[in-house]
Symmetry: C2
Subunit: 437 residues, 2 copies
């Protein structure tokens, strides 16, 4: 029983600063719960001079990672450098030295997870990563621990605060994407180069991790269909509202007949769904288990303090493991390594969904007949249609909501529709999730 668990921190950036603050502010509280002290022994970063706004004993600071990785007194290492290298090498070295790992680095795990978890198992240590998905939301530990008696059927996630902040403001204020993106950047909710977030890549990475945890399968994240929010217009948001929907960037995975769907794209969901109230910088993950039914976890998906909460939560779990045990307690990716499979991933062609389609056409009779003729020829059945007032001279919008259709047919139909002489621009297509249990 160690009364003090020694922690080494790699990376004194935003989250690292949050971790230092949390360990300082809540040290006594943690001891009251854990029954031991989490002692920050060393902080390694290339920059140890810039003031992070926290008081730190200078003796803790070093530019030499070896003082964390090879120090015999350090029990667990927090990796908050990010990226692939040197993070990967550092993590493997710490593991080789018998140290447990806490990380937030989903990219590292996505690319090198197999190697890292194998090394951890071999060395009798654990790697935890609650902070990699959903900031402070305890979704990873819930999937790995209390929910793990369930076969999971599906996953729905709002996983990127930048996108959700933008869509929330577009929805609440009727603004256009470009305007809100700029405001988001000014307010610190979006990066100077926002591509990674707004094109859905960040969300796809997180979904790949959740899929592995829930379904026990490897998913290369480049096999996750990824479509961002840059083409969502305020017009689409308005029409969505008319139909009783909201638009979110949803991460979606379903397991049906042994095959996985894995997709990220703007999605219309009914306003009364709890998911629809996830606003601004908040995130949520909703999973359905065969016994537990639907479970949704909601909270701040990013930010210094929320993410630090998840990192230190993992440290406490590892401290408990160290103090009560001798070997890894829970497999890193939720499944025993030998039980991990490679389930086939459905192509987008095979996905079935309801669809919202917004056409921009000439202002003539017969246009709707032409369009619905093409849809019908591709087995796409129309649930509802509106032809709203047009604000542009010479063109009219037509909005169609379809019944459940196959993506392959939808794409073929729209390829044809977009060639019609009555159609003035490519059709806007947004998928609808309307059938959550």
């Amino acid at each position: 029983m160690k009364p003090v668990i020694n922690v080494g921190l790699l990376g004194f950036g935003t989250i690292g600063t949050g971790v230092v603050k949390l360990l300082q502010n809540n040290g006594n509280l943690i001891e009251r719960r854990l029954g031991a002290k989490l002692q920050l022994k060393r902080i390694a970063d290339l920059d140890i001079t810039t003031d992070r706004g926290v008081q730190v004993d200078p003796a803790l600071l070093t530019t030499d990672a070896a003082q964390v990785l090879d120090a015999p007194d350090i029990d667990l290492v927090i990796e908050l450098i990010g990226g692939y290298e040197p993070a990967r090498s550092f993590v493997l070295r710490a593991i080789g030295n018998g140290k447990h790992i806490v990380t937030a680095n989903k990219a590292l795990l996505a690319l090198h997870g197999e190697e890292i978890f194998a090394a951890a198992a071999k060395n009798g240590v654990e790697v935890m990563f609650e902070a990699a998905v959903g900031g402070g939301i305890p979704i990873i530990s819930s999937i790995k621990e209390n929910l793990c008696a369930n076969n999971f059927h599906n996953i729905f996630g709002i996983l990127n605060g930048t996108c959700n902040y933008i869509l929330t403001r577009m929805t609440n204020e009727g603004l256009d994407f470009a305007e809100v993106l700029k405001a988001a950047q000014d307010a610190g909710y979006a990066e100077a180069d926002p591509t990674f977030d707004i094109e859905g890549v960040d969300t796809a990475h997180k979904l790949a991790l959740l899929i592995s945890l829930c379904f026990g399968t490897k998913v290369p994240f480049d096999q996750v269909y990824t479509e961002g929010i840059s083409k969502v217009s305020s017009l689409d948001i308005q029409y969505a509202r008319q139909f009783g929907f909201q638009i979110k960037l949803l991460a979606i995975s379903k397991l049906t007949n042994g095959a996985i769907e894995a997709r990220v794209h703007p999605t219309m969901i009914p306003e009364h769904y709890p998911l629809a109230d996830v606003a601004g910088a908040f995130n949520a993950v909703r999973v359905t288990g065969d016994f537990v039914g639907p479970v949704m976890l909601y909270g701040l998906g990013a930010g210094m303090e929320a993410t630090a909460s998840a990192v230190v939560g993992d440290c406490i779990a590892l401290a408990r493991n160290i103090n009560s045990g001798t070997s890894p307690r829970t497999p890193g990716m939720a499944y025993q390594p030998e039980a991990i499979e490679t389930l086939p991933i459905k192509s987008m062609d095979e996905v079935v969904s309801q669809y919202y389609m917004r056409f921009t056409t000439v202002d003539q009779p017969g246009v709707l007949a032409k369009i619905s003729g093409v849809l019908g020829a591709h087995q796409i059945s129309i649930a509802s249609m509106v032809q709203p007032e047009s604000h542009d001279v010479g063109s009219v919008p037509i909005v169609i909501m379809t019944h459940v259709s196959q993506e392959k047919n939808v794409r073929a139909a729209l390829a044809e529709v977009d060639q019609l002489d009555v159609v003035l621009e490519p059709t806007h297509l947004i998928r609808i999730e309307n059938d959550l249990d």
Copy 2:
């Protein structure tokens, strides 16, 4: 490392049946994740003849609890009998025999928890109880584990499916309480004697447990102010909607200046809050931590299968502890026993809140002046007022929403108002939560 963890079940009722089903259906899945088998060895119940709809090897069944409690091969005991005795004696005996406990019995823990957790600590075993609050929702493990680096500021919960089902139907269908209660009973969502649920007692028990876990303090549940839903009328629900609110039976606890508020009562919350979309039989718990911010967990709060998920989740956690460790891993009530305090509980008089008040008065000029005069004299400031159309001859409703006021003043004011000759019946009072971070 035990490849098989032996489980004994006390109580073959609804949840017990769900546990048996889950262990049967998902045994292989559990093994793929846990790396060991959870083996149900014995089921004890006074009735071992009634068909529960699951196939069970008759050799497992016994009417003799000793065959679970004293059997040397059994590692952990699931207590699903409910009530105080013999549950308490059985649990203590199992603990004395070195067996871990999984229970859903919040009443037992509320009354005998201290004794039980002390016995467990002394005997080097653990007692887990995820299923005691919120059915399948992993709220207890989240508070005890990944969120435990946080000082919690408050707890809000929708914790009773019966009440939430009734209020949801009243809200969606405009029906009266009595009518929906009957429908709930017919549909199996309410008991023949529904008092325990609809008067908020069940919710109060669950809140007491959550308060102990979050704030590290003992709370006798008879100190939780408890007011049920039987006086909520469809009129109040309509007015709430006019003001943009929904009515839920909320469990509320706040920690301010070292004192605890603990109350259960119908509460108006803004429609756009994620809590407001928690409908029907769903439950939710929302906690706020000083670093993680607000976190909400949502799911099915009751039911055979959802509750079984939580029970078996606990079994898996204990199996992991058995297989990787030698001593209790996490203290039963989240805090080290010696760190548990007794924080003062605020009386309701000291609570501050916004209030909805519905008066029924004579149809005369000057009534509003009289009422607002009394309110003003008690430092209650009016935020808004409507005097809707009256459907009853000779009486008019007046609805007032107040600014933040002190409960003591509100009660004194309404005692006075209800004595006015212009007031025809006691004022309907519903508290408002409008300030969630």
